[in-house]
Amino acid sequence: MGLAPTPVAPTTRYPARADLTAARRARGPESPRWGTTLLFLAPAVLLLLVFLIYPALYTILLSFNRGRNGIFEQWVGLDNYTRLFADPDFLDLSTFPPSGALWNNVLWIVFYVSIVIFLGLVIAVVAARVRYESVLKAIVFIPMSIAATALAVIWKFVYSPDANIGLINALLGAVGVAPVSWLGDPGLVNFALIAVGIWGSVGFATIILSAAVKSIPAEVVESARVEGATERQIFFRMILPMVSLPMSVLAVTLVVNVIKLFDLIYVMTRGGPGKSSQVIAFTMFQQAFEAGQYGYGSAVAVVMLVLLIPILIFNVRRFRTSSVT
């Protein structure tokens, strides 16, 4: 799923304390059987070492090297990083509004994350009151199952400036508005793309938040209503506190999604028009594989890794506390 958030945060339910200590006691025979343990773990450990850990270290080192052809040839210190942050295509804070690939990721985080969560919550809460809830949720969820590549084709079609092809411009034409080039205007393109991202991810947010809303017992809500609570009070005092934890996990997942965002941009605009819709993962791909600047591309990959490290620490901490208590 191109846009389907990779479920990232370690948040599965943990057994209560009593269960866990029981599990601890029984987990594994007293005398470990080394051979067997190794057989169970070896394939995973080997692949993780060869394809994740070694490459990550290699990429970090390569980001301090000129790295043409992807091999170590000449150490350049922080050159790749100073060039990267001096590059207006990566980040340009001298204009208003700022621009560049990293800034576009910021735009995505601000608009995509907040609107996805907002719409997801609204649909989850409102749909719970109608009989066709499951049908509606399925409809909103469909884009989650399809590839970002297909999503891109669908929306290039809807956005087409040709009023015989593009539905939006056809509707605008019907009320006498001239066709808009949604993906061709540097001022509009990021918002047009973010709208597609939102369309693709609201289903995910709806499913997660709906499960959280459903976890509030109906009798509790009903008795609050009977006691005279207004719908507004029920929403802000009962529903919102109950969904705040899944909502924060959802927000983290969506932020990670934005940092890794690539397929949709690559297929819809190739970062264009000009360089106006590039995002960081796109820059990494382009610098490394289209421009052949492996050292520079490695620096971009390391920036991505650094952006994800706070979330990595958050996950590990969260996991450690939840498995101890």
Binding site: G28, I165, L167, I208, V249
Partner: protein
């Protein structure tokens, strides 16, 4: 009028109140219908287009239902002339091993992390949790170039080897995490009893843990299968032989060559979507579980 627990009497709404309530209900239904339309119409529009003749597509919009002629010519053309049939097969060749390999490897490792005792077990598991966040981008350059330095003559990207291994490795942190969290909830007595009877870990794994974990394994398998099926980025990097391109790359090429030939693009996009849609509608429960498992508490 309903009398509820606690003796509170539900007041009968006034006529004005009833009108407000009805209005509210109308607003709710209308906005939900609008949401349903916004989420359905773009896909339906492309579906209709994929069955319209090229000349019709250029003459009128797909919403012109009075002039609807349907044909499967677009699909025939995209499958045969544009090589989408081969690309479909390639996607299958990429997706099946890239699903089965991580399933097996994750299940084994997850069992070790749940029911075997070895030093640094919990530390190692925390490292796996940390690896969840490592972006796939850090592996691109080393896997493509560094490996060639280490093993001369190694051409992982000529065939499917590179993409199978890359997909498998990058699936591991999430898969191990997910399955371990499921395995650990199995009743300890069940496993302990088998151990007392002298069963080996291999036996317990095959005869007890895997059979009772089928729902969790299926949810993860479906998630991973769709992930690989829909992937473009990994295929761009790790598949360099044009005859082995999966559908995502074929469609992306189609788009850059024939950006306005909507009869081809629409049919191509639906060929890419058809399997995930079938999986979604037939296995919705597992699919949603797979997605939820990692992100809901």
């Amino acid at each position: 009028m309903s009398v509820l627990a606690g003796g509170v009497v539900h007041a009968r709404p006034t006529p004005a109140g009833r009108i407000v309530a009805a209005l509210n209900r109308t607003v709710i239904h209308v906005s939900l219908a609008l949401i349903g339309l916004i989420w359905l119409v773009p896909t339906v529009g492309l579906l209709v287009t994929s069955f319209r003749p090229r000349s019709d597509i250029q003459a009128t919009g797909w919403w012109d239902f009075f002039n609807l002629h349907l044909t499967v010519e677009n699909y025939r053309q995209v499958l045969e002339a544009q090589g989408m049939l081969q690309a479909f097969a390639n996607t299958v060749f990429i997706a099946v091993p890239s699903t089965l390999l991580p399933l097996g490897i994750c299940a084994l490792a997850a069992y070790a992390f749940s029911w075997m005792r070895f030093p640094f077990r919990d530390t190692l598991f925390l490292i796996v949790v940390g690896l969840l966040m490592v972006p796939v981008q850090v592996a691109f350059i080393p896997v493509l170039t560094g490996f060639r330095e280490l093993v001369p003559g190694l051409e992982l990207t000529k065939g499917y080897g590179g993409i199978w291994l890359a997909h498998t490795a990058f699936a591991l942190p999430f898969g191990i995490f997910l399955l371990r969290n499921f395995f650990i909830t199995l009743p300890p007595d069940m496993i302990e009893a088998a151990r007392i009877d002298g069963a080996s870990d291999a036996w317990i794994f095959r005869k007890i843990v895997v059979p009772v974990s089928v729902p969790a394994i299926a949810a993860y398998g479906i998630f991973q299968f769709l992930w690989v099926w829909n992937d473009l980025l990994m295929a761009l990097v790790f598949v360099q032989d044009a005859s082995k391109f999966p559908m995502t790359r074929a469609i992306q090429n189609l788009l850059s060559q024939y950006g306005t030939e909507w009869h081809l693009l629409a049919a191509g996009a639906f060929l890419l979507m058809i399997v995930p849609l079938i999986v979604f509608f037939s296995l919705q429960r597992y699919f949603v579980q797979g997605l939820l498992a990692g992100s809901i508490k």
